[in-house]
């Protein structure tokens, strides 16, 4: 029987975190997490409380520890270090950024090490087995749209990294907290006050960030992949009217190649996988300011396509 983190006795959960053997199953990866930081422990329980905890012994893809440095910065202008398998791949950040550091560091680990997938910088949501890939540069509104669709009942597959299995044409879920920045934090809080959101972290390199807990059902369904059927290139611009335009397939592929982290490493496999994804998906450029309207329009576009394909199948 699978045990969730929030089902462990709190003392045991904290102890395992301190000892670095809190092994969490996050989609296709197993992460051993360790830290003696109290605030980080609380944040983990709040945002990862519903993730399956695995026994202490066994293979973990990543061993991550977040600790204070062993220098004067342990006490003076306190910092936090991100340790991956005992190595420190990044410079320390202010202690108050520990939770965001964990998320960013884990993104990097997945993008760097999960080479069986073609990894695209994109959020992915799914409904009725059809995945919608939201890709674009940072600040384009991917996570905001993703959270908006999640609130409307779409299943969260990923907020940051689309893991495409090029042979099977599936997108592998890796549901994790949705990272929101700046004004989008209040937008999502206003839209769905029932969502569990971590404490906003101010003054990071990306401004103020906050993370929304992934829905329980989506974490439980983390082993159910979905097929891509729609690719969206969102662009948030304050005050603009909603504009949706069909994107040409070659430009869609160009956008995906630009957003793919490991396309040169995967080579031919990535090209075939991404071209197959483009061929079986509709694609849109969406310029928006009003989140609710954008979500509604995307939903109706996907519904129309689904009904169209059903009619063709009949």
């Amino acid at each position: 029987m699978t045990v969730r983190l929030d089902q462990l006795p709190p003392l045991q959960a904290h102890q395992r975190l301190r000892e670095g053997n809190l092994r969490l199953a996050i989609g296709p990866v197993v992460v051993s997490v360790g830290s003696r930081l109290g605030e980080f422990a609380e944040w983990m329980l709040q945002l990862y409380g519903h993730y399956p905890v695995l026994p202490t012994s066994g293979f973990s893809d990543f061993h991550i520890r977040l600790e204070r440095p062993r220098t004067t910065r342990r006490w003076w202008r306190s910092q936090v270090c991100f340790l991956l398998d005992g190595e420190e791949p990044f410079k320390p950040l202010p202690l108050s950024h520990a939770c965001a550091f964990f998320e960013w560091g884990l993104n990097w680990c997945i993008a760097e090490r999960l080479q069986e997938y073609v990894i695209v910088h994109a959020a992915v949501v799914e409904r009725d087995g059809r995945a919608m890939v939201l890709t674009g540069p940072p600040g384009a509104g991917k996570s905001t749209l993703c959270a908006g669709l999640m609130v409307r009942g779409w299943r969260l597959l990923s907020d940051e990294l689309a893991l495409l299995d090029p042979e099977r044409g599936w997108i592998q879920p890796v549901p994790r907290p949705v990272g929101l920045k700046g004004a989008s934090i209040e937008v999502i809080r206003g839209l769905a006050p029932q969502l569990v959101m971590g404490k906003p972290i101010e003054g990071t390199g990306k401004g103020t960030v906050a993370h929304v807990r992934a829905p329980d059902a989506d974490v439980e369904r983390a082993h159910e992949p979905a097929r891509g059927s729609c690719i969206v290139f969102p662009r948030y611009e304050a005050g603009v009217a909603l504009r949706v335009a069909v994107r040409e397939p070659a430009l869609v592929l160009r956008g995906l190649l630009d957003a793919a982290f490991n396309h040169p490493v995967q080579g031919e496999r990535a090209v075939h996988g991404l071209v197959d994804l483009v061929e079986c998906s509709s694609a849109y450029d969406v310029r928006f300011a009003d989140l609710a309207k954008a979500c509604q329009t995307l939903e109706s576009l996907v519904t129309t396509e689904r009904e169209g394909s059903r009619a063709l199948a009949c």
């Binding site: 040409e248 397939p249 070659a250 869609v252 592929l253 160009r254 190649l257 396309h263 040169p264 490493v265 080579g267 031919e268 090209v271 075939h272 071209v275 483009v278 061929e279």
Partner: protein, 102 residues
């Protein structure tokens, strides 16, 4: 006599007929069609390029093992700016074609 200038990628633009073109040894580019555009992946460099129809046709001929010379190249149509020499030079810059002296 072969001068350094003759070996430069720019040479065939000025003296067509003296240089032939072939696919670099061992290179097997990957082709896919996307919405009427040819996408080619160079497995040596790891780069992926989008080719216009003229470039895609020439690269397909090179990839099939054909050696292209001025006699076998399509002649530019009246009024077009880009001749086959320019297309081949572009393919050369992408590492997908190489000039040589037969």
């Amino acid at each position: 006599m072969v001068t350094p200038f003759m070996l430069s990628p720019a040479y065939p633009r000025y003296a067509p007929g003296t240089v032939a073109w072939r696919i670099p040894h061992g290179l097997a580019p990957v082709f896919r069609e996307v919405g009427g555009v040819t996408v080619v992946h160079n497995p040596e460099s790891g780069d992926t390029h989008f080719l216009a129809p003229a470039g895609a046709d020439l690269l397909a001929r090179l990839a099939s093992g054909e050696v292209l010379t001025v006699d076998t190249l399509p002649q530019p149509e009246f009024g077009t700016q880009t001749g086959s020499g320019d297309v081949l030079r572009e393919l050369h810059l992408l590492g997908l074609a190489e000039p040589f002296h037969p």
